[in-house]
Symmetry: C2
Subunit: 357 residues, 2 copies
């Protein structure tokens, strides 16, 4: 991720007058603060286990929960195949390192930190076709729609790195069956609770193909020994007390409302931009006819009181026209119209501004 | 780390009748359970920040605390140079990755997961001399004594990866001045609260040379986005309420007592083994005249009701004679004599057992 973008986002986040449409943050309102506070206090006070070192593969009860969720969705996976990771990001990094040297196809735009993870791991990132393919199941990030169907993904023979970060957050509740159940030998299944429960715990998971399991586990141990015992123990306790399906339903409804509000606002204030109406997830992906440095555009937008994620961060190949991701997930619903208005004003000024070609 | 060893340790840990002298675990009695429970509940309940995503470099208040501790020990470091990591282990991995291809000297025996981190990162591990050197400051692991003095380390010109995991746990309270203050351009400073406060939080830190900072931060972000916000926020709150120096004093005294008990027990039951009397840390390093597969010896020891860390895990090069690390840190003080007795019995039987040369 571009250091200039990070610096701009940090400056914007520190300003109360900037409406933030950047980042893949869940809504503050949906974080289970009280229940998590109780769970954390209980596991910390109840014995040494949650505070001590654990095993590299993760908490047994958590792995059983992860496997049971996959089984309930039609993909039976044995708990011993699950490796608990530091969020989905570490799962991406571990998959990338295991595929070092391989060509990983990512499409025209994708999750920026997946690109970083693959590049840092020494994999070769390509747009179109590779021995491996990175797919975001159910709802692609940044597009907000399903880019490739299960059938399409299964028809090929590539190794599939399947990121399920948003899979259970389709507004229509049509959660896809996990691909790991169909092609366990070539699917690297990645999941997380960061979008549905709490990113600050940093808990995700990886189910590598069985043949890669031992090497991946060794790599996980070399990377950080294990994922935080305390996060895992608190999560297990929390999960025993919440109805996860009901929680997902509430989240889908909440985000669908915010999404609709942003879609309306963009149509009203930015009629010239193109985007697909999201089927789920946290964001819409705008394509414009503007050209130039989209980081400079972000800087101008922040000066106008709104932030977004520049499209260049999502792209492996250079693209002439400016695109951007707008996240509705963590912005106050009542401010989304004003945010789009500020963005429209920014773009209008951008067009009038003389720039070098 | 050898998968066979891990499997044996897991089996042993599940058995109540096995006295555990394996692992670098702090004493359960010293974990600040109640204070941490309160801190966790408070930060989780007090707002969204501790539950949301944070910045890759870590919590600002925590970085200030880390820098102020270093400054108080004679090594002024600006907080912006500190990167919060998932324990010292991730700091080792990040340092190793940054030194990919370089020869890192580790000595005859060292912390096994440092070896794993360097090898996984693509560095070349060597015993004697390299462009880089891994040093465990103050108290070396597994030896329990200072292996190389500050003067000796500073006399060379190698890049120094300085692991301070046990630096503040010398029994004589002579905490060395951090080398990062003397040679900031070639020292990778690594610290952690895992040995003094709570390993289950998974919080450590890395201060890379300034010239490497930006690249390391990018790598950290690619690895796991950031260290758990919740762990960091709870830690900051905890640190504001404890007297860290008093806590260190109590820990030193506690471990010195356990150490003395184990040293006495080993002298009584295993008079033929060689070891240095520890100056601090969690363990003693036994060298024997036995030969053979030390993992098989561990298996025999577990059958006799005691576990240890096989010396081969600490060595980069093969060594004929069996060595082992015995950790007194997490074993009940009253059981240390019996643990040494069981180990002595295991070795006696081992000597009598016919084995292939």
């Amino acid at each position: 991720v571009d250091a200039r973008i990070l610096a701009l986002h940090k400056a914007a986040a520190a300003r109360e007058d900037v409406l933030g449409l950047a980042g893949g943050l869940p809504a503050d309102e949906l974080l289970p603060q009280a229940k998590l506070a109780t769970a954390l206090a209980e596991v910390a006070a109840s014995g040494a286990d949650a505070l001590q070192y654990g095993w590299p593969e993760g908490d047994e009860a958590l792995r059983v929960w992860i496997a049971s969720r996959l089984a309930a969705r039609g993909a039976p996976v044995e708990p011993r195949r699950v490796i608990v990771t530091a969020g989905a990001q570490q799962a991406l990094a571990l998959a990338g390192e295991s595929l070092r040297g391989a060509r990983i196809a990512v499409g025209d735009a994708t999750y920026p930190s997946a690109l970083s993870a693959f590049v840092a791991a020494g994999a070769q990132v390509v747009c179109d076709r590779g021995a491996a393919r990175y797919a975001i199941a159910g709802v692609s990030n940044p597009h907000g729609i399903e880019l490739a169907s299960r059938d399409e993904l299964l028809a090929g023979s590539e190794v599939l790195i399947v990121d399920e970060a948003y899979a259970e957050l389709r507004f229509d509740r049509r959660t896809p069956r996990p691909l790991v159940g169909d092609a366990p030998d070539r699917v690297w299944h990645i999941g997380t609770i960061s979008k549905t429960l709490c990113p600050g715990l940093r808990v995700g998971w990886l189910v590598p193909p069985a043949s890669a399991h031992a090497a991946v586990l060794e790599r996980k141990q070399a990377a950080d020994l294990q994922t935080a015992s305390l996060s895992q123990a608190a999560l297990v306790r929390l999960l025993a007390r919440v109805d996860y399906d009901a929680l997902l339903d509430r989240a889908r409804q909440f985000y669908a409302e915010r999404c609709e509000r942003l879609v309306d606002a963009v149509r009203r204030h930015l009629p010239e931009v193109r985007f697909a109406e999201p089927e789920g997830g946290f964001s819409i992906w705008l394509e414009t006819d503007e050209t130039g440095d989209d980081v400079a555009l972000l800087e101008a937008a922040i000066a106008n009181g709104v932030s977004f994620d520049p499209g260049s961060a999502f792209r492996h190949a250079l693209v002439d026209r400016i695109a951007m991701r707008l996240s509705f997930s963590n912005a106050p619903t009542a401010k989304l119209d004003e945010a789009a208005r500020r963005l429209a004003r920014t773009l209008t000024r951008w067009r009038r501004q003389p720039r070098a070609a």
